[in-house]
């Protein structure tokens, strides 16, 4: 909590004062043999420890994909759970190598706090209320008490939205999501607001999930993606192209199941470059040439990760919507590998 933050901040000061001594993050990661990955403190579908204590979720799988690309081994990741408030300090101080924690890409974060390497999930902010209130639109929320997280874009959008709607509201903002959910469940607030994906995940934690509904309004753009430190291009490239490799594999129809066959037989030039049979794209970014093959072989493509963690077959039952590939009417788009 606060103590971690203070430690982390001194970390920033100290790390900042000794930086230059350390090589790039990619070399560091290779030397220490694992990736330190910052995730949430528990958000179903994105990053949450399962009953055996293993981290699972879309954001978690992204970090495992980087490990597959670098180490050919998805277990070479250590996870650091972070609250929304702690995350950027943890990244800047070097406590983590990559922040993969439903973090919204905004201009100030992208220019002052770090760099975004992609958008794992296109989201938007929504509201959840009790069915018993009989409310059907967010425009009826004037005077309501709203529970949310501190240190998020959520609390800023909330203030903006109620202002532009000329409605009154009372905010109650907690540092930890766990507390937000508990307080909302206990009746402290009429409304719970966060990223829509988060609402579906948090609803599962309520005592009676069926007694709550998500209102139709989406009040913001929340492109959630992985973030790295500024000024480290080699590492930025690895993280960014891991994401693009996941998308390219889906677009080319390469899956966890058929990747070996594709690698052996495919004559498609796109697939040959992706899987490292043509060119030196992998070695050029400091990895082995079969980096993308390893990602798909060990983890799957973007669509597979989406389905497994948040899709229709998961407890969250989220449809692809705008997160479909561009070729299928969505926004997910990877530049060509060449």
């Amino acid at each position: 909590m606060t103590k971690t933050m203070i430690v982390a901040t001194f970390g920033v000061a100290l790390a900042a004062s000794v930086a230059g001594a350390s090589a790039g993050t990619l070399d560091d990661v290779k030397a220490k043999g694992f990736i330190q990955c910052g995730v949430s403190q528990g958000l179903a579908g994105f990053s949450q420890p399962d009953s055996a204590g293993n981290w699972a979720g879309l954001d978690v799988d992204f970090c495992r994909s980087i490990a597959a690309a670098i180490f050919n081994d998805t277990s070479k990741v250590k996870f650091t759970p972070l609250s929304a408030k702690e995350r950027f300090t943890a990244l800047q101080s070097g406590e983590i190598d990559v922040l993969s924690r439903n973090t919204t890409w905004t201009m100030s974060r992208d220019t002052k706090q770090g760099k975004f390497a992609g958008v794992m999930y296109y989201d938007g902010q929504g509201f959840m209320v009790r069915k018993s209130l009989g409310i059907t639109s967010a425009k009826q929320l004037g005077g309501a008490s709203v529970c949310t997280n501190t240190g998020t874009t959520t609390e800023l959008n909330l203030a903006d939205w109620f202002r532009t709607q000329k409605l009154d509201y009372k905010v109650v903002s907690f540092e930890k999501s766990e507390e937000v959910v508990k307080a909302y469940d206990a009746g402290r607030c009429d409304v719970l607001t966060t990223d829509a994906s988060g609402l579906y995940a948090e609803r599962l934690k309520l005592t009676k999930p069926d007694e709550h509904i998500v209102l139709p309004e989406i009040i913001s753009k929340e492109p959630l993606g992985p973030m790295v430190r500024q000024g480290d291009d080699a590492w930025f490239n690895v993280v960014k192209w891991t994401y693009f490799a996941l998308l390219s594999a889906e677009e080319a129809g390469v899956t966890k199941a058929n990747v070996d066959e594709m690698k052996a037989k495919s004559e498609n030039p796109d697939i040959k470059r992706l899987l490292g049979k043509d060119g030196s794209f992998g070695t050029d970014i400091g990895l082995t040439n079969d980096w993308a093959y390893q990602i798909v072989k060990l983890m799957g493509n973007y669509g597979e990760l989406f389905e497994k963690n948040v899709g229709e077959t998961s407890p969250l039952k989220i449809s692809r919507g705008i997160n479909a590939l561009w070729s299928k009417g969505g926004l997910q788009y990877a530049p060509p590998i060449r």
């Binding site: 900042a16 300090t89 309501a144 008490s145 203030a159 903006d160 509201y169 903002s173 540092e175």
Partner: protein, 397 residues
């Protein structure tokens, strides 16, 4: 003290570099240079590297628009208020918790501390149990306990408890009280009457104790003060024709609007923090009273002082000398512990600072502000306490 008769030229001659005084200066000077050098390197390096990472520095961000709202805005916090203003709201909220906590903790602590010394078996056992229980449970747990107990017990706004029907409401959004709106000069009159009453009482007390020293005649300074402090504002209020309107909270769709709202986070925090600190204060008080030897009481009684006078004039002043320094410590602890507010959404200085830090990215600046404020309070308290101690310490003759 014996005088040193040796004159200067009789002193054994030592080369200057062996002279302890010179050596002292040289080594202290060197240490200073090294420390300053290290400090400079850290500051300079940090600045250079922050710049490399495009992290802006300086306190300019304090005037940037904050863009978020706070659960308790004790001073006005308009839509376009700045980060600096947000921190100020946080500071005021911290002061509110600290003051309310100190008042309650002191009252409960004194009662329990005296209770532990009671001859009544049940009372003394109850008080011992209180101290042992509360002292040994981590404060954070107690805060959560009270918060969710408060939330769990209180009804929703629709079925508020109404201790004074139509005026006071209690529900899981907090305690709603009517707002006092003074008209005409009533507000000013009460305020200045109170101040004037306080000042005059102080002079009356001084005069009374001086007179008692000189003539032995006691003067009821206590009652006079009460009369002044309560009476003056009352008279002025009456003169304004009791110009006061009460604005009651009204039910609206979700919550109540109007009136004054005390949020459950504040209630839980003050409750938890004062009951916890009271358990320490109780021990301080008990120790203070036990420190006054029984002989003092016996001596006072044999001089003919009544039981009340013995307590007031002999036992308590001596006990206070023992009680006050550790008591101040407890007050400081309470103030610092109030930063646990962050766990239950009470927007105190640390919690708001955390938001500012996160939204602006100015970590080092925000931490510097935190440290300056908390250090400042601690140092100020310590200085006041030392001054008090010097005055109260037994003067040896």
């Amino acid at each position: 003290m014996a005088e040193d008769h040796r004159s200067a030229d009789e002193a054994p001659r030592v080369p200057w570099y062996n002279d302890p005084i010179w050596r002292g200066y040289v080594f202290q000077g060197l240490t200073l240079i090294v420390v300053a050098g290290i400090a400079w390197t850290i500051v300079h390096n940090t600045a250079v590297n922050l710049e490399k990472r495009h992290i802006a520095q300086g306190f300019g961000f304090l005037s940037t628009t904050a863009g978020f709202d706070l659960a308790q805005e004790s001073i006005s916090f308009p839509k376009d208020a700045s980060y600096g203003r947000a921190l100020l709201v946080g500071l005021v909220n911290t002061v509110i918790v600290a003051v309310a906590g100190i008042v309650f903790a002191t009252i409960v602590g004194f009662l329990v501390g005296v209770g532990r010394l009671s001859h009544n078996f049940v009372i003394s056992r109850l008080c011992t149990g209180y101290v042992e229980l509360l002292r040994n449970i981590p404060l954070l747990l107690q805060i959560f306990f009270w918060y969710f107990a408060v939330l769990g017990v209180l009804p929703s706004p629709r079925d508020s408890i109404q201790p004074v029907p139509g005026w006071v409401f209690l529900n899981n959004r907090g305690l709603y009280l009517p707002e006092f709106r003074f008209g005409g000069f009533a507000g000013d009159g009460i305020f200045y009457g109170l101040i004037f009453g306080l000042v005059v009482s102080w002079f009356v007390r001084r005069w009374a104790s001086k007179r008692q020293m000189e003539t032995g005649q006691p003067f009821p300074a206590g009652w006079t003060s009460v009369a002044l402090i309560v009476g003056l504002p009352l008279v002025l209020f009456a003169a304004s024709g009791f110009d006061l309107t009460l604005v009651a909270p009204k039910k609206s769709v979700f919550n109540l609007s109007g009136g004054i709202q005390i949020i459950p986070e504040l209630m839980a925090l003050v409750l938890a923090i004062s009951l916890y600190t009271a358990s320490f204060i109780a021990e301080v008080v008990r120790a203070g009273i036990l420190a006054v030897s029984h002989g003092q009481t016996e001596a006072a009684r044999s001089l003919g002082l009544s039981h009340g006078q013995t307590l007031r004039l002999v036992v308590i002043p001596q006990a206070m000398r023992v009680i006050i320094p550790p008591l101040t410590n407890q007050y400081l602890n309470l103030t610092k512990n109030s930063s646990l507010a962050v766990a239950i959404a009470y927007p105190d200085l640390v919690s708001v600072g955390g938001i500012v830090l996160n939204q602006s990215g100015q970590a080092i600046e925000v931490i510097a502000i935190w440290m300056a404020i908390y250090l400042g309070t601690s140092v100020a308290t310590a200085m006041i306490m030392n001054a008090y101690n010097r005055r109260m310490a037994i003067v040896e003759r």
